[in-house]
Amino acid sequence: MLIGLVTALGRQFISFLSYFGKTTQLHLSIWRGLLTGRLGYRVTVQQLAEIGVNSLAIAVVTLLLSGMVIGYHMSVQAGKLGVSELVGWFVSETMCRELGPVLVAFVVAARVGSAMAAELGSMRVTEQIDALRAMATDPVDYLVLPRYVACLVMVPLLVFIGDIVGVTGGYVMAVLSPSINQTVYFDSLPGNLEVWTVVAGVIKAAFFGMIIALVGCHQGLTCRRASEDVGRATTRSVVYSIMLVYAANLVLTTILYPK
């Protein structure tokens, strides 16, 4: 019984290490490609547009509603504590430090990362990846680099937009409570919210973008040659990237927001 459990855990651990090794390898080839100038301009612009179109609306809605919920809670609690004039600041700290980066990462992982896994996976099944290689084109250069760069740029941008939308959402709920008037909410930001708080959140987002593109592309490029497995790779890409975003978030938070 116990031995069985230990074996199972050991196997999980080893498969995690091997997964980590393989994605790291892909990550190295990506950077080798980027540093040797093999990023295609046109395909990158295409990917940037695609990510923007796919995720902007849903990211905005997500952050707006979350901001409203946080704004509601904060104004009630702050009212009890008698610090209603600080609600705007509280909401913006919450959004910029955690909710903005993490929620946008989830949205992008679900919309964009999964699409990458599905697209590359079906290209693999239909031998299009082999066709690229036969045409002397490295699939990592042609397919992965533009997606990686697009995520690296777009996720932070979406987070920045999301932060603003979220804080505005908080405002909408906060002004409904009697103790907060229309100017005090935003007046609490200057002098309290530090630039670094926002910047560090955006930096976290850049790392999340890397994780999403890396995991999505890796799942697509390595899925087995069956339509069924394309489906599995797609789901796996979402699960893995969300898990890795959680873990990275913990590490990055302690580094970027020292006590």
Binding site: M123, T126, E127, Q128, D130, A131, L132, R133, A134, M135, A136, T137, D138, R224
Partner: protein
Amino acid sequence: MAESNRPIIRACDLVYRAEETAMADGREFQVILDGMSFEVHRGEVFGIMGMSGAGKTSVLRLLMGLVQPTSGDIEVLGRSIIGLPEYELNRIREQMGMCFQYAALLDSMTVADNVAFALRRRSHLSRQEIERKVEEHLERVGMSGTGNQMPAELSGGMKKRVGIARALITEPQVILYDEPSAGLDPIMASVIDNLIVGLRDEFGMTSVVVTHEVEELFGISDRVMMIYQGKVVACDTPEALRGTDNPYVQQFVRGQAHGPIAV
């Protein structure tokens, strides 16, 4: 002198096992090629025939460096391709072309973009120049005017011909055809056959043609190799193979259900 006599492709004792099937049917792996040696000379049409599942496609994938053999050596254009990193392989692949059995067109771009793909990435031709070459190559395979269509709008045989145009456009030294005329009507099939022979006569292009259509293959090939159970059964000129008393070849060429090849 030694340079021109040197075979353009040389395979030495190739063994290829598919590790992917491991444990699917109890066996550990399936032996697909089991010690295979052959040479392709510059400027010839080299035919490979064998039963369905004999490993013909696998041979082409090995020659292209898309998969690595379990053991053995492959030399292409005077260079061993075993264990080469992808970017080195790509330097050799630039001199080669491959037509996939199921065309493998990039389905998110138009026919014209597919055909132009390699030129756009590697040559410094102007846009008009590329457009002209694309149209010229589509015409060669009887597909002119289809440039703006998407691959999904084409029939299987049409896709295959676009795949041929795509492989030819860079004017490679060696071109590998995987069943170029399977699924084509007799007229189109003979257009493609003439194209293959024409490229050899006009430009000295080397072709490796895989098919199980014996008559077609004998019609265009300078030499034909037959593979069975992962080994080379015979490799000779079409005339010699017709007259051979090798029972495997005889059975295959005549298309008999009974003989040494068990079905």
